[in-house]
C-alpha cells in the first residue's frame, strides 16, 4: 500500500458547560481492530485536526474498557453506546462522536450523569443490612430466581436508555427506565423485599414511573439487554396495587 488507509472522525466539542458546542474533524491512520477509544487516545497523543492545526486534545470518560462500567457512553453515528466496545470497522465513515446531551455536558464528550445516581438514592436501590448487631445470614434465593435477577443486576448506569427516552429531557423530571428496573431487582431480593413498599412509594413520587410514555426505546437500546419495558410494566402493576392499598387501607404492611 502506497498510502495508509485513513479514518475520519467528526467530533462535537464543547470547551466548558457554558460554551457553545462546535465540531472538529480528525484524520487518523487506520489500524486493524481499532476502536473509538483507541482513536481518541491517538488524538490525545497527537492533537492535530484534519486541517493540520494543533488543537486541544479531545476529552472523554472511561474506566473499565470492557463494557461494564458505562462511563465511556457517547453518541456514535447517532446511536448512544459505549465507545470502548465500538469497533471502527463496524461504522460508516466519517464516524461522528457526540456527547449524550440528555445530561449536562462537562467538556467535549464527558457528561455528568449524577442525576442517575440521585434517582438510585431516591428509589433506595440497595438492600439495607446494617444494624447494631449481626443479623445473621439472610434467606436463600432460589437458583432460577438468582439467574433471573442477575440479568437485571447487569445495569451499569450508563445512561443510554435515558438518552433514548423521549420523556427524559429538560421539560420533564422523569428519572428514566434504569432506576425503575433496579427497583424490580431489589424488590425481588428476599431481604430487599422488606423495604418493597418504600421503593414503590418513591417510584410513585415526582418524576417516577408514571412519566413513562411507553415509547419502549429503552429496551431496544440497552447494551446489556435488560428487559426494561417488562420491568416497567411489572412495576406499573406493583404500584397499582400499592395505590389501592394506600387508598383503601390494608391490614398488611
Amino acid at each position: 500500500m502506497s498510502e495508509d488507509k485513513q479514518v475520519r472522525f467528526i467530533i462535537t466539542r464543547q470547551d466548558s458547560p457554558d460554551n457553545e458546542p462546535y465540531t472538529e474533524e480528525f484524520n487518523l491512520t487506520y489500524r486493524p481492530n481499532m476502536n473509538v477509544i483507541s482513536a481518541l487516545m491517538e488524538i490525545r497523543r497527537n492533537p492535530v485536526n484534519a486541517e493540520g492545526q494543533e488543537t486541544s486534545p479531545v476529552v472523554w470518560d472511561m474506566n473499565c474498557l470492557e463494557e461494564v462500567c458505562g462511563a465511556c457512553s457517547m453518541i456514535i453515528n447517532g446511536k448512544p453506546q459505549q465507545s470502548c466496545t465500538a469497533l471502527v470497522d463496524h461504522f460508516e465513515q466519517p464516524i461522528k462522536l457526540e456527547p449524550m446531551r440528555t445530561f449536562p455536558v462537562v467538556r467535549d464528550l464527558i457528561v455528568d450523569r449524577s442525576q442517575m445516581f440521585d434517582s438510585l438514592k431516591k428509589v433506595k436501590a440497595w438492600i439495607p443490612i446494617d444494624g447494631t448487631y449481626d443479623l445473621g445470614p439472610g434467606p436463600r434465593m432460589a437458583e432460577n430466581k438468582r439467574q433471573w435477577a442477575y440479568e437485571l443486576s447487569k445495569c451499569m448506569t450508563c445512561g443510554v436508555c435515558l438518552e433514548a427516552c423521549p420523556n427524559v429531557n429538560d421539560n420533564s423530571d422523569f428519572m428514566g427506565p434504569a432506576p425503575v428496573s433496579l427497583v424490580r431487582l431489589y424488590n425481588a431480593h428476599p431481604t430487599g423485599e422488606m423495604n418493597k413498599s418504600e421503593r414503590l412509594e418513591a417510584l410513585m413520587g415526582e418524576g417516577g414511573i408514571e412519566s413513562c410514555g411507553n415509547s419502549q426505546n429503552c429496551v431496544e437500546v440497552c447494551p446489556k439487554g435488560i428487559p426494561l419495558t417488562t420491568s416497567i410494566a411489572a412495576l406499573n402493576r406493583d404500584t397499582s396495587l400499592q395505590a389501592f392499598k394506600n387508598f383503601f387501607g390494608s391490614d398488611r404492611a
Partner: protein, 209 residues
Amino acid sequence: MAENRDFMNRRLHSLLGVIPIGIFLIQHLTVNFFATRGAEAFNAAAHFMESLPYRIFLEIFIIFLPILFHAIYGLYIVFQGKSNTTRFGFFRNWMFLIQRITGVYLLIFIAWHVWQTRVQASLGADVNYDMMADILSSSFMLVFYIIGVLSATFHFSNGLWSFLVSWGITVTPRSQRIATYATAVIFVALSVVGMSALLSFINPDLANM
C-alpha cells in the same frame, strides 16, 4: 397522598381514556353507523339519544368532564416529551409520536365538532342527517372529519394498548405483542364503522331514505 399527585393524575388520565371516553366513542360511532341505513334511521337513533332521561348529567359526567381532564392533562404530557423518531425509528416510538399528534388534532377537532353540533343544538338547531350532510358537503370539512375520526379510532386503540401496560395488565413482551395485534384489529374495525358512517352522509341515495 399529596406527593403522589402526578401518579394519580396520570393513572386517571389513562383510565378515563378507556372508561368512559373510549366507551362513549364506540357508542357514538355506533349511532352514526345508522346513517348507512338512510337518513330516517339515523334521525331516529339520534333522537333516541337526545331523549335519554337526565341527559345533561350523562353528558357532563360521562362525556364533558372526562374529556376535558383527558385533553388538558394530555397536553401537559405532550409538552413533557421530545420526540426522537428520526434517531430511534422503532415501531413503538412512532406509536408514541402518533398518539401525541392525534391527541392534539383531536383537541381541535372535538372542540370544533362540539361547537358545530352540540352547541348549535342547545341554540335551537336540529342535529340530524341533513345537518351532517350539509357540513360534510364542503370537501374541506369532509377531510377535516375523516382525519378526525381516524385520529379518534387510532388514539383510542393505541391508548388502550398503553392503558394495559400502564396499569400493569400486560407485563410480558408476549402479552404486549398480543395486545398490539388486538388493538390493531380494534383500530381497523372502528375505522371501518366510522368511515362508512361519514361516507353515508354524502350519499344522495341515503339522504332520501
